[in-house]
Symmetry: C2
Subunit: 464 residues, 2 copies
């Protein structure tokens, strides 16, 4: 063979990039090892963005992100506080999507929400109503809101109100229902609807009264403590939930309610180790919204999934989504379920990773591997890797296991494109069919195309 | 010189053991580096204890320690539940001691307790009463009880009741008062006495009712969770306190008390990050008492300090204390205080280290270094070192940072004597004068003589 003739020994070739190279060499009978590194989709686009103007824009956006002071100030029905909310609005997680393209769990959650709002009597009636366009679908993210998994938020649902005292903006998220058969995972059984009505009638008003009496709860301080206690505030919220309940308990205990209801409120919230998740998400949203809309900034301000598409937004192009197909998470399944049951990645909860928590802070939350899979060493590796694609270390959120280094914060589209390293997200997994609920938890990444498209658009905008 | 003549080069000598060697070499003009390793006080005694009979005894004692199932079952006035308690009994921390030899903070706490019990009107009157022998002093440890710092426990004080469901024994500890001006650090101001009376009249009865309604709280599970959340359950109890309050809150909120009192109970307990300490100590005491009194066992079942002496007890010689002078802890001082203000080591709280928590579990609680001094790396080193002098790893208490290895548990007097490694304790620091309170926190070790004396006595007993 040619190689043998030229070099006097069998040849081993490693190829990167287009398959053309691998195929051409292999056709000559040479052993080929392809590696999956790819050059940035737009190398010239990337080069044009490494400039003082973008650096300066990113400094402004990053400063706003790190300066955020999220404070839990109230719990109110969505219709009273969420901007643009109407009786017919159905907010959902992720980028915009039509009913036809929605996955099972999102459709299930919408059906459940319509029944809960007394806008339909059955799932079938609800689906017909949704299919004929009688509901106004819109992403939570377009209304300063975020929702885990399906993220479905309707008029009468109580929402946490988080105020960013540094910038004055507010963000919103529904109350967490716990695990198993819950609306956000696409379940709509009577027990799901009953729980939501108790939220509306008792839990929401009680939490709102308690938070107002306390004059607000400093979430930056609380999250900072929780990170030192092994939470990453996405899929591990054990410490943060306990700290939040500890703060609320004196006021709940003093409420003018039946003793039984006071006890039920503290039993329900105390029994839900994910109770803090939605608060964490609203805190992250309040911080990132303040950093959104800085011209020329390549900072990622949103990562969100609707169960079909994964979409990101960047600060410098505030009105655009850059989307690609959502992937299936890999992880641990509850007994009786497996990968074939899993819906593609869904939920706004990747707002935590976007703000430097969640998968980015897993190194400080080694016990999470018991829930999402992997080892403590891998969790630490994920966090270390995320420093490669972020612009800062958050001084408010420090990881003891890394000698109190701040969590990697502020994803730069340029760094993702240049390194090929994708953000590491941990996530719950929903069954792909409506009505079933959570089936496990695991790890997932965004499709790379989101970042390639954002980079191209940023470079195009930058040239103008 | 001789060395030069014999070896043809300058000599450097390292000496261990008696100073005689160092001096003899130095006298010949040779450079000497002394190291502080010492041979076991009783090498033949130690050798005699490395035998099947002692190993078998230790297996029994260790099994009882690891099998313990401590459950918080009640809160009651000491007089109702603590064995041998009378109206005139004053329990204190550490080994037995007379009034004349007591340090300032222990005297201050006793004076405060006598005022609290209406047995004296002033500190002076209380001290006169104590000095003339009108109070029956006895170690907490002789009454199945433990108390942090001064450890002073009197008849009407409410105590946590912890039942070891594996062995059926019970252990007791007072309620934690928080930091600063508190009885256990030797303060006796009116605010200290008022707080204790509120404990007696409101907090104690309320906690007791809540615990009874819950049917008990599984402390092994709770401590296991807290260790995974960065507590070591001696000087860091942030997670455990929050988890305990989360468990109690629903019942507290439902109590038939004024709303103001329900709120005050949860505000006070929620505001005290050390609230769990006394519960942790009673849980450790309940586990270790079950392992006490196994003939031939060299397992350490008590380490305790009265502010003057440091005493240990071993399983095989249940009625003896082996004591030496308590040392001054080294650590961080509150503003305005320094080493000259510190009392020698005091308190029964080293029961946590004896049970494999506290300083032994510091590697899982890196944030504690902000309170006691040092670095996260040192905390990990202390835990790793403690595996050298312990017989087991506790499967119930696992440290994520050590890939979920169990905490080093069960100190063996033989291993301490053989390695020269002393147990690592972290501790609060009291002012050496009565009436002032806590002035800092730090690290300390027992005097080695405690272990030498225990070893000699065990070897003597073993020969008979």
């Amino acid at each position: 063979m040619l190689a043998d003739v030229l070099l006097g020994a069998p040849l081993n070739v490693i190829t990167a990039g287009p398959d053309l190279f691998r195929a051409a060499v292999a056709a000559q009978g040479v052993a080929v090892t392809p590696v999956d590194w790819q050059p940035p989709a737009s190398a010239t686009g990337l080069a044009s963005l490494w400039c003082d103007a973008v650096d300066a824009a990113n400094r402004i956006a990053l400063e706003r992100l790190l300066a955020a002071q999220p404070v839990l100030v109230d719990v109110r029905p969505a219709i009273e506080v969420v901007p643009g909310m109407t009786q017919d609005t159905i907010l959902h997680a992720g980028p915009p999507i039509t009913w036809e393209r929605m996955s099972g769990p999102l459709r299930g959650a919408i059906a459940g929400a319509l029944v809960y709002e007394d806008l339909a009597a059955t799932r079938e009636e609800a689906e017909q109503r949704a299919a004929r366009g009688a509901a106004d679908f819109d992403p939570c993210h377009h209304h300063a809101a975020v929702g885990p998994m399906a993220g479905v938020t309707t008029a009468s649902m109580p929402v946490f109100v988080v105020e960013n005292r540094a910038a004055g903006n507010r963000a919103y998220a529904t109350l967490n229902e716990g695990l198993g058969k819950v609306l956000r995972y696409g379940a709509y059984a009577p027990e799901v609807i009953d729980r939501l009505r108790w939220f509306r009638d008792v839990l929401g008003p009680a939490l709102g009264e308690a938070v107002r009496r306390l004059g607000g709860i400093d979430l930056r301080a609380l999250i900072g403590q929780a990170v030192q206690m092994g939470d990453e505030c996405h899929n591990r919220n054990r410490a943060a939930s306990a700290l939040l309940i500890k703060a609320l308990a004196p006021e709940i205990a003093a409420l003018d309610l039946a003793a039984r209801e006071r006890a039920r409120i503290l039993t329900f919230t105390g029994g839900n180790e994910h109770f803090f998740l939605n608060v964490s998400m609203a805190a992250c949203k309040a911080a990132l919204d303040a950093a959104h809309g800085v011209p020329d900034s390549t900072l990622v301000t949103t990562m969100a999934r609707n169960g079909t598409d994964f979409g990101i937004r960047v600060s410098g192009l505030p009105d655009q989504w850059f989307s690609g197909p959502a992937e299936i998470p890999q992880g641990l399944f509850f007994p009786g379920y497996g990968p074939a049951d899993a819906n593609p990645d869904i939920g706004d909860s990747a707002i935590t990773e976007t703000a430097g928590l969640g998968g980015f802070a897993m190194g400080g939350a080694p016990a999470i591997v018991q829930f999402v899979g992997g080892t403590a060493a891998e969790a630490l590796r994920y966090t270390r890797l995320m420093y490669e694609i972020t612009l800062a270390e958050n001084p408010a959120y420090r990881i003891p296991a890394l000698d109190f280094r701040g969590t990697p914060t502020g994803i730069d589209v340029r760094l993702v494109a240049q390194t090929g390293i994708l953000p590491q997200i941990n996530t719950g997994m929903a069954h792909r069919e409506a009505g079933i609920g959570q089936i496990g938890a695991g790890l997932v990444r965004p499709p790379r195309v989101c970042f390639d498209r954002a980079l191209e658009a940023l470079a195009r905008e930058h040239r103008h």
